[in-house]
C-alpha cells in the first residue's frame, strides 16, 4: 500500500509548532546520535521525511514522539540547524490532535486565542458558581479540643466537590480512553507489517506501568539525570495530587489541622514542592531558552506551566490562610484554586499537553509489543524495555 504525497501538509503542521522542514537534507546525523533510536524504531530523520512528503497516514501510526525524551542531542548535531528535536514536540502535539476524534484538541493547539478563551471562560464559570452557591460568611469553628479552625467543609463540602470531581473525571476519562483506543487503532491495528498476538499485550503490560511510574527511558539520554528527576518529581506530584483529590478528598480536605507528623501533611508538602519546583524550573528554562528542549515554546506549553504554577501557588495560600485561621481569605483562595484547576483539567487532560502522561506509557507499551514481535520474527536487534 502506498501513501499519497501531500506537499501542503506543512501548512497544517505549522499550527502545532514547526511546519517547514526544508532545511533537512537527510544526512542522518540526528538518528545516528540519538541514544534511543534503534532498528525498527528509527527517529527522528524518518519523521522529517514523512512530514516533508506529507505522508499523513504514515505519521498517524508513528510512535516516535512518545519514545523520545527530548535530550536535544539531535538538534545540537544537526549541520543545517533544522532542529530535529523540535520535530518530536511538534509531532507530539499533532498526534495528540490526530488521536482526538472530537477535533477539540486541534482547535486548542492551532489557536492560542481559542485556548486562552476556553481557559478564561471556565475560570469565570467556576468563580460564578461559587459566588452564587457558596456562603463566604461562615465564621471560624471550634474543634472538640477547643481550637479555632476554618470550616472549609462547610464552605465547600467535600462530598459535593467530590461528586463534581467524579462527574468531570467520568467525562474526561471517556474522551481520553476513546482517544487511546483511537491511538491503538492507528498505531497497532492499521500497521499491517507487524501483527501483535494478544498474549503479547499481557506480557508487555507491566513495562508500560513501570515506565509510567519511573520514566526509566530517560536514563539512556546522556546528562539528563537532573532533568529526569525534576520531570519525574513534577509528574509524580501531579499524579499523587490527582489521586488524593479524586479518590481521597474526604481524607485530604479536612477542617482539622493535623500535626506536622501526619501523612496528610507530608503528602501535601511533597505535592506542593513538586509542582512549584517543576513549574518554576520549566518556566524559567523556557524563558531563558537555556536547553535544547526549551528553545521552542508553543502556547500550550506556556498556558500549561502557568496554570500548574497557579494551582500549586493557590494551594499554598489555602494552607497558609487555613493554618493562620483566616476564613474569608481561605475561601477566596480555595475558589481561585478550583477556578484554575477546572480549565487546566478540562483543556489539558484529554486534549492537550497533559495527555502525554497517558500517551507516552501507552506508546512505549505499544512499541514494546511491536519490538517483541520484531525480535521474534526478524531477529532484529531491538532492546526490550528501553
Amino acid at each position: 500500500m502506498s501513501s499519497r504525497v501531500d506537499p501542503n501538509f506543512k501548512y497544517t503542521l505549522k499550527g502545532f509548532g514547526k511546519g517547514d522542514w526544508n532545511e533537512c537534507y537527510h544526512c542522518g546525523n540526528c538518528t545516528a546520535t540519538c541514544p534511543l533510536s534503534e532498528d525498527g524504531f528509527l527517529f527522528p530523520r524518518k519523521g522529517v521525511r514523512a512530514i516533508q512528503m506529507g505522508l499523513k497516514d504514515k505519521l498517524a501510526g508513528y510512535l516516535d514522539p512518545w519514545l523520545c525524551y527530548y535530550c536535544g542531542e539531535c538538534s545540537k548535531t544537526c549541520p543545517r540547524d533544522a532542529n530535529p528535536g523540535e520535530l518530536m514536540m511538534t509531532l507530539r502535539r499533532y498526534l495528540t490532535s490526530v488521536y482526538d476524534w472530537t477535533g477539540f484538541s486541534g482547535r486548542l493547539y492551532k489557536s492560542m486565542k481559542a485556548h486562552i478563551a476556553v481557559v478564561i471562560f471556565l475560570f469565570l464559570s467556576v468563580i460564578t458558581v461559587f459566588l452564587i452557591l457558596a456562603d463566604f460568611s461562615i465564621p471560624l469553628g471550634t474543634t472538640e479540643e477547643g481550637e479555632k479552625i476554618v470550616q472549609l467543609n462547610a464552605f465547600a463540602p467535600h462530598e459535593f466537590i467530590s461528586t463534581i470531581d467524579h462527574i468531570l473525571l467520568g467525562i474526561l476519562s471517556f474522551f481520553l480512553l476513546t482517544n487511546i483506543l483511537n491511538m491503538f487503532i492507528k498505531v497497532v491495528i492499521k500497521d499491517k507489517s507487524i501483527r501483535v498476538p494478544i498474549y503479547m499485550y499481557f506480557i508487555q503490560m507491566w513495562e508500560g506501568i513501570f515506565h509510567f511510574a519511573t520514566q526509566a527511558r530517560f536514563s539512556k539520554c546522556e546528562g539528563k539525570r537532573t532533568y529526569w528527576f525534576i520531570h519525574w518529581f513534577c509528574m509524580s506530584s501531579y499524579v499523587i495530587m490527582f489521586a488524593m483529590i479524586i479518590f481521597f478528598l474526604a481524607w485530604f480536605q479536612t477542617d482539622n489541622v493535623y500535626p506536622i507528623t501526619h501523612p496528610q501533611r507530608w503528602l501535601g508538602y511533597y505535592v506542593t514542592i513538586g509542582l512549584i519546583f517543576g513549574s518554576v524550573y520549566f518556566l524559567i528554562g523556557r524563558f531563558r531558552k537555556n536547553r535544547e528542549m526549551f528553545k521552542f515554546s508553543h502556547h500550550s506549553d506556556w498556558i500549561f506551566l502557568i496554570l500548574l504554577f497557579l494551582l500549586a501557588f493557590t494551594g499554598i495560600l489555602i494552607h497558609i490562610f487555613r493554618v493562620s485561621g483566616l476564613p474569608l481569605a481561605t475561601y477566596i483562595a480555595y475558589m481561585v484554586h478550583l477556578a484554575v484547576e477546572v480549565p487546566m483539567v478540562v483543556t489539558f487532560v484529554a486534549f492537550s499537553k497533559w495527555s502525554h502522561l497517558a500517551y507516552r506509557p501507552m506508546g512505549i507499551f505499544f512499541a514494546n509489543c511491536k519490538k517483541a514481535v520484531l525480535r521474534k520474527q526478524y531477529k532484529m536487534q531491538v532492546s526490550p524495555a528501553f
Partner: protein, 562 residues
Amino acid sequence: MVDVEGVAEEVGKLPNVVVSRNYKYMCSDPGQELIIKDIKEHKLNRVVVSACSPRIHELTFRKALQNAGLNPYMFEMANIREQVSWVHTDRNEATRKAKALIIGAVTRVGYHEPLDKRTVDINPATLVIGGGISGITAALEIADAGKKVFIVEKTEYLGGHTARIDLTFPHMQSAAQLLAPRIKRVLNHPNIEVFFNTTVDEVYGYVGNFETDLTQNGKKVNLKFGNVIVATGLKPFDPKVIVGYGYGKLPNVITSVEFEQMLKKGKIETKEGKEPKHVAIVHCVGSRHPDYHEYCSRTCCMIALKYANQIRSAIPDAEIFDIYADMRAFGKDCEEFYLQTGRRNVLFLNFDQQKGLPRIGTPLISKASPNEKFEMIIEIDERLSGERIEVPADLIILMVGMEAHEDAKTVAHAVGVSMCGNQFFIEKHPKLDPVATTTDGVYIVGSCQGPKDIPDSVAQARAATARILGTISRGKVEVEVTTAVVNEEICCGCQTCIKVCPYKAIHFDEEKKVSVVNEILCKGCGTCGSACPTGAIRSRHFTDIQILSQIKGVMSLEVTEI
C-alpha cells in the same frame, strides 16, 4: 642496479663501435654537446643512446644528431631504465640484460637509412559539419580570422537544439538572445557558406587537403578544405520504449523537448488546455539505466530545476514534484541554483534506481481514477523514507537524456573518427587532447563527443578553432616519414593491405594493378606490412632486416641457465 661503467666498457669493444661513453645526464645540454663533439671528432655516422624510454627523449637526441649534421634517423635508443634498472633486483642479471639490449640497438642502427621529413601545404578553408551552437561558434571564430568556412547542416535551420530551448540554466538567459545575433552573423558573413538540407557522405584526402562532394538542390558541389570540425550534436532519447512511463499513451506525459516548446509558446497547459495544478518532473529518463543508456546526460538535472522555477513563476499555487535519482548540480552556480529552487516550495523526491516497478529503477505512471482531483498517479519507491509513495500529477515532464544520432556511424566513417560503445565520437586523449581525433585535421566538438551543455560545447568549439588556426598559420604540416611503402615489382594486387589499413591510406592503382600507399595518410602502424602475403610492403624505419638484426643482437649473448 646496472653496472653502467662495466657495460660502457664492454660495449666499446663491440664491432663497429668507435666510442662508448658513460655520462650521468646525457639528455642535458652538456650531454648533447658531448654527442655532437664525438660525432665531429670521430666522424661517427650512427649513434646509440642507452638510457630512458625513447618516448621521452628520442626526439631530443635526434635533434642533437641533426645539429651535428647527421640524418636524425641514424639513431637508436636502448631503454635500460624502464626495462632494466627499474624492474630488476639482481645486479648481475640486470647488467647482462642491459648489455643485450644495447647490442641489439647497435646491430639495428647499422641498418638504419636516412629518412627525410616531409611537409604538405594547408588549405586554409574549414568544413564544419553541423550548424548547432558548437558549429556556428567555431565557424564564426574561423571566419572572423579571415579564413573560409563551409557549414553543412542537415536541416533547414541553424541553431540546432539550442534553437528549441526557451531559457538556459542557471542564469535564466534566453537562448534565443544568445543565438539569434550569431545566426544572423553566420548568414551574412562573407567568409561563411552554409549548405542547408545537406549531409556529408564521404571526405577524401588528408590533413591540409581534404575534399568532399555535396549534393545541394540536385546540384553537385565539390569542396576543398584543410580541416574538418565535426559538430553533429545529439538526439533526445525517445521514452516510448520505457513501458512504465506511458509516454505516447497518456496525453499529458511529455518530454522535456516538448515542454521547451510549450515554454517558448508562453503557456503551460495540459492537452485539454487546462492549467496543471500538479506538475511532476521525472529525471534520468533513458539515462543511468542498464537497459537504455548507462551514462549520465549531464544537463537534465539543471534543466529540470529550471523547469521547476519556470512553473513556479507561471503557476504560483501549483504543486511541483521533482522526482530525481541523484541530483547532479556540478558547475559554476549550479549548486546555488539547486538551493534556490529548493526554497521555492518544490518537493524533491528521490526514487530508488535499485528497486521499483516494472523494471529496475523507473517510476510507474498510471491514470488516476476519475473521482480524483488530478489526472495521473506516479508510484515510486522513495529512497530517503523507504516508503512506496503515490504522487499526484496533471502534467508529467520526462527529462529525456541525450544520445548519439542514428547516422553517427555514417559521419564517423566519412571523416574517419572512431566511436565509443555509446556511439559518441572518441577524442584523441580524454584529458590532454579533448577536441582532436586520431585523424589529423579532424576535430570533434559539442555533444557528438558526449552529452554537454552550452558553455562546454562553446568552449570546445573555440578550442578546436584555436588548433585549426594554429595549423593554418603555420601554412604547412609535417607528416609522418616512417610510413609503409609498396614494392610494385613484388605486389600481387591481392588488396589485403587495403582491407586492413585503419587509416584508409592505401588505394589500388587499377592501371598497374598494385596497391599504392598515400604517405600523408599513413601513420606507419605496420599492419599492412605484416598482413602482406608477398612481403611487398615495407615499413620505413621498421624494415624486416632492422628488426631481425636487433633480435639477433639481443640474442647474441649466450643464454645461461635460469
